[in-house]
Structure formats: C-alpha cells, structure tokens
C-alpha cells in the first residue's frame, strides 16, 4: 500500500493491567528523531484494556499524536485481535513506518501484520537511522548469531516495519504531555479470535527478573562452575543493588534460570554498568550486552574475547576477585 502520511508509528504494547510495557516507551526516543528526519509526526499506537496509564506514559515521553484502541478483547494479547486492530488503523491512516518492540508478543505480531499488509519487516534491530540516499529507514540488525550486522531497507512497500529489542534504547526524560489523542473503536468478535489462553503457569523459579530496566547487572558464565557459585555473584549484586544476569553456558548447565539469560537467545540489556564474571564473551553473548555504558570483565583467561569489549578488565579468578571487591565496596561505604 501507499503511505498517506510521513508519520512514524510506535506500537505501545500493554500489560493486562493496561500499563505500557517499557519497550514501547523506549522506542519513542529513536522514533522522535526518525519521524523528524522523515518530516512526519511521532504517533504512539496504544492497544489494550483500560489503557489510561499507557496513554499517559506515551504522552509524557514524546508522542505527538496517540491513537488508542481500548476494549476488553485486547486485555490479553491475541495474534488475531491485535493484527486486525493494527491493520485496520494502518489502512485508515497510512503511516510510512512503524516500530514494534521485539517482545515475545511483538515478534508474534510483527510478521503477521507485515504479511497481511504485504510489506517488509526487519526483526530485532539494534540500530535505526534514515538512509541518506533514499530517505528510507535503515534498519540494522545482527545475523549469523551476532557475527555479522546487516543494514536492511524496505524501499517500495509501506509501511516499513521493524521490531527492536527491549533495552536497546533508553526512555527519554518525562516531559510535558501535549499529544493529540484519537480514540478508535475497533471491535473484534470473540469468534474471530482463534486462540484462547487456558492457563497461566507461574513456573518455579521464574521470579521476575528485570534485566532490561536494570542500572547495574552482575553476570556469571561458565567460570561460575555451579549453582552454588552464583552465591558469589549474588553477594556482589546485593551490595550494588544490581540484577543478576547469566550467559547461555550457565543457563544451559542448569545453574540459574533462563529468565536471567543475556544474549542472542536471552535478553538484550543496556545498563550503566555490566560486570561480566567468568564469561568468555561468545559473540552471541556480546550481541546482548555490548551497548552497556560501562563493561567490566573478570576472567581467568587473558585471551577471552570479553576483554575486547571491556572498558575495564581484570585477569583473575572470580572467586578470588569478587569477595575482595565486595570488601572494598563495604569499606568505602562505611
């Protein structure tokens, strides 16, 4: 389809309580500069049930226009209802581009929407820009397990759509709310929703781990050696008020749950400080944490690739280093 405007849309995914998931608000930050370069407005598209909190969050984080679709059929995410809502809006308003957070639901929705609209989608972008030559969005994403980066364009189809992982961009400072709010009624009949949630399982040990919102992360890898080994990681995390992360090696060994995993098949994080302990730094892990502001690496192996991305590196056994570091922090704070 043809674009009717130069507007850039950011899909704001909501929780079941109607609040916004972080990633949608984060995406308003790059959305603003892309919209400006495209010569259009930044539009937040909020879909959910009782969405006042999500609308407010979008309004105080840079949205110039907010389109709201609110109704009980949107309380729980479903592929069918959300695809119908977004495609209906796109056909009505014709944005030129759209950003979707690459959450599990966002990665379920994005391809479904792109396919229905017969347009291109670029998944899991880590950098967004405007291609100077053509004026299209230049979507940059990792491929081959993070070994290679690719910049993708969608020159002839509209809207151009990309999903972006949580934690790649940071929320802007809250500002005065000034968005124009448009309410759209899009009713989806329950018979058109072909999936239903039968049961929600709170898995053992699936405690809420907020890696994407963490300011400091202390992560352990193969060098931690055992589940008990994570006590040493936890001790440093506790004193710093940090969240505990892990590499795939540690998760696959069963020492810590998948909720803690950072990297290509885990979470993408961008904390102020990332402390990698006993992590060799496989490219898949680096793909998930290299945008951290400050990376501190502690590893026995001086040739570990983690030192290639570290701002501060120390070659040594984490079980020796971490307790001393904890003592030093305690002393400094005493």
């Amino acid at each position: 389809m043809e674009a009717k405007t130069k507007d850039l849309w950011v899909f704001i995914e909501t929780n079941t309580d109607g609040s916004a998931k972080n990633v949608g608000i984060e995406l308003l930050t790059p959305g603003k500069s892309l919209a400006k370069k495209q010569g259009g407005e930044l539009v937040a598209v909020v879909i959910g049930n009782d969405t006042a909190a999500a609308v407010e969050a979008a309004n105080t984080h840079g949205a110039e226009k907010i389109i709201v679709v609110d109704g009980p059929e949107y309380k729980d995410y479903s592929t069918d209802a959300y695809t119908i809502a977004i495609c209906t809006l796109v056909e009505k308003y014709g944005p030129t581009s759209m950003l979707i957070g690459a959450t599990n639901n966002g990665r379920d929705l994005g391809p479904r929407v792109a396919c229905r609209l017969k347009t291109g989608l670029t998944a899991d972008c880590t950098n967004l820009d405007i291609d100077e030559e053509s004026g299209n969005v230049a979507w940059t994403r990792p491929a081959f397990g993070g070994n290679l980066m690719a910049t993708i364009l969608c020159p002839n189809n509209r809207p151009q759509i990309g999903t972006v992982r949580p934690g790649v961009f940071k929320k802007c400072m809250p500002q005065e709310a000034s968005a124009v709010i448009i309410k759209e009624k899009i009713h989806v009949d329950s018979s058109d929703i072909r999936t239903q949630i039968l049961e929600v399982i709170e898995e053992m040990g699936s405690e809420k781990v907020d890696l994407e919102g963490a300011e400091i992360i202390v992560s352990g890898g193969r060098g931690v050696g055992s589940a008990q080994g994570f006590d040493t990681i936890n001790a440093l995390a506790d004193i710093l008020g940090a969240t505990v992360g892990a590499s795939r090696a540690a998760v696959d060994s069963g020492w810590i749950s998948h909720a803690h995993q950072v990297g290509q098949t885990g979470k993408t994080v961008g904390p102020k400080v990332y402390i990698a302990c006993g992590i060799s730094g496989a490219i898949q892990h680096l793909a998930g944490m290299s945008s951290s502001d400050c990376i501190i690496a502690i590893n026995k192996d001086p040739d570990a690739p983690i030192f290639d991305v570290a701002d501060y590196g120390l070659v040594g056994d984490l079980f020796e280093v971490l307790p001393i570091l904890v003592d030093e922090i305690k002393k400094a704070r005493a």
Partner: protein
C-alpha cells in the same frame, strides 16, 4: 492426524569465525546442521505421534539440493516422508517471499498427502534469527498461530500448546488447522535410531520446483518479489581503549580496579 514440519539447513553459527584481516565471515568449513529450533518442532510432532500411531509426519525444507541432508536427518529421527522445495527463481527471497513460496508448496504437497492439521516450525533459524517465516506461513494460509511453543498436545478439536511467555508460561488452545512455532524446551529431542537411519538413506525425496507451482505469482518471489533489500553487511566493531588492570597480585589488581571504578564514579 496429519502433520507437517518445516525445517531449514543452516550453518552452525557457533562455529563461524571472522577473518581478522579481511574482516569478513569465514563460511568455508562451517558445518551445515538441522536448525536446532526445527529439531524441537519435529520432536513436538513426534510426541503427538507417540500417542497416536496413525498420525503421519511430513517434513518440508526450502533450499538447495544439499538440504536433502537435513530432510534425511528428519526421517531418521521421526518423519515419514520428506519434500524439498527448490528452484532457481526462489533464490534471494526474503521472509515474506519465502513464506509465500512455502505456503504455495504446502498446498501442492497437500494434493498428495492430504490436508495438514498442524504445521510445525522452529521459532526461528539460527542464521537469520528473524522468527518471521512461521507466522507469515500462517497468514498466507489464513491459519491461526501459536509461537514460542514448548509442548503441544491434541485434545479433541483443539491443540493445547504450552508456550513460553515473558512471565513464565501459558497454555493456549488453538483450533486446527494451525501453525505452531517452537523454542527450546526443557527436554532433549530424541536421537535417530539405526533402523530409521537405514530408512532415511533409502528414502526418495521428491523435489518441488518453481515449474511445479503453476499458480504462484512470480512477482512475489525471489529477490525482485522481496520487499526488504540488504543495503550492506559488516562485522561489528570492536571497542578500543579499554583498561586492563594488572598489578602484581590479584588482590592488588582488585583493589586497583575498585579505586579506578570509584574515582570514575562508576561504582
């Protein structure tokens, strides 16, 4: 129960190295494997077949002739029959074009194998990592989808899928026909048996080529039919200017590290 599993042959991305001089991907000598997520999808189908002996598992792969290797592997694990979708005009297809070709091929295969009740895919392939082809096949066919599946069970007219969510897991019921995509479950997929390996070696694998898909819209396939274009690829830049702390003892190094971090207001 008539099931189709879509599989892809991928380079083992954990074995890929970067040429330090040319700064490009070294693909020579990298082993080709069955995409691990497709292996989980195949196992989920096999588990349904375990409980329902009349069930049939057909596998499909789109790719060059070498991709027959992963189809034979799938037969040696659990599949009854395999098809390769391969054609010169399919080359350069992005996810939208690929999923369109596969959906057309599925309709062609259904003429022989009957209508599929469930189509299984891996969540994503480890080379492209897009997670788009499964849901796009579902959309082309007009079927419902459940992604991030861990286990699936047939219960009357419904498939009950345990799926990974950000909060933990959920059981989702979906009507058939449907498309399911799978991620890594807590169990390991079964191994091939010797008997099945022999059967796999003997198996004829029909090839569905571009000329077999007579109804396909050729403006929607290949490089030209793909809405996304690769502008450039590059190897991620390494950071420079990091500080290695190396005093005489680990204790001294640690103290020095803390001093540096403290002075820079990092900790």
């Amino acid at each position: 129960m008539n099931m189709l599993v879509c599989v892809k042959q991928v380079p083992d991305t954990t074995e890929i190295k970067i040429d330090p001089v040319k700064n490009t991907l070294i693909r020579d000598g990298v082993p080709s494997i069955l995409n691990p997520y497709d292996g989980y999808a195949l196992e989920a189908a096999a588990r349904i077949k375990d409980k329902n002996k009349d069930a049939k598992i057909v596998v499909l792969s789109m790719g060059p002739m070498q991709a027959k290797a992963v189809l034979k592997e799938a037969i040696s694990i659990a599949a009854d029959k395999a098809y390769l979708v391969s054609g010169r005009t399919f080359g350069g297809s992005d996810t939208l074009a690929t999923s369109y070709i596969i959906s057309q091929a599925i309709k062609e295969i259904e003429k022989t194998e009957g209508k599929f009740d469930i189509i299984f895919c891996g969540k994503q392939a480890i080379d492209g990592d897009t997670a788009q082809v499964g849901p796009e096949i579902a959309e082309h066919l007009g079927y419902p989808q459940v992604t991030y599946g861990l286990e699936a069970e047939v219960d009357g007219d419904l498939v009950k899928v345990k799926k990974e969510t950000e909060e933990g897991a959920a059981i989702v019921g979906v009507s058939m026909p449907c498309v399911l995509t799978f991620t890594k479950p807590s169990w390991d997929p079964r191994y091939p048996t010797m008997k099945r390996k022999l059967a796999a070696n003997r198996a004829e694998i029909p090839v569905i080529s571009d000329t077999d898909l007579v109804d396909i819209d050729t403006t929607r396939i290949g490089l030209k039919g793909s809405p996304t274009k690769v502008k450039k690829t590059f190897v991620p830049k390494k950071k420079t200017g990091g500080i290695m702390v190396a005093e005489d003892t680990v204790e001294a190094s640690t103290k020095k590290l803390f001093e540096l971090l403290n002075n820079a207001n990092i900790l």
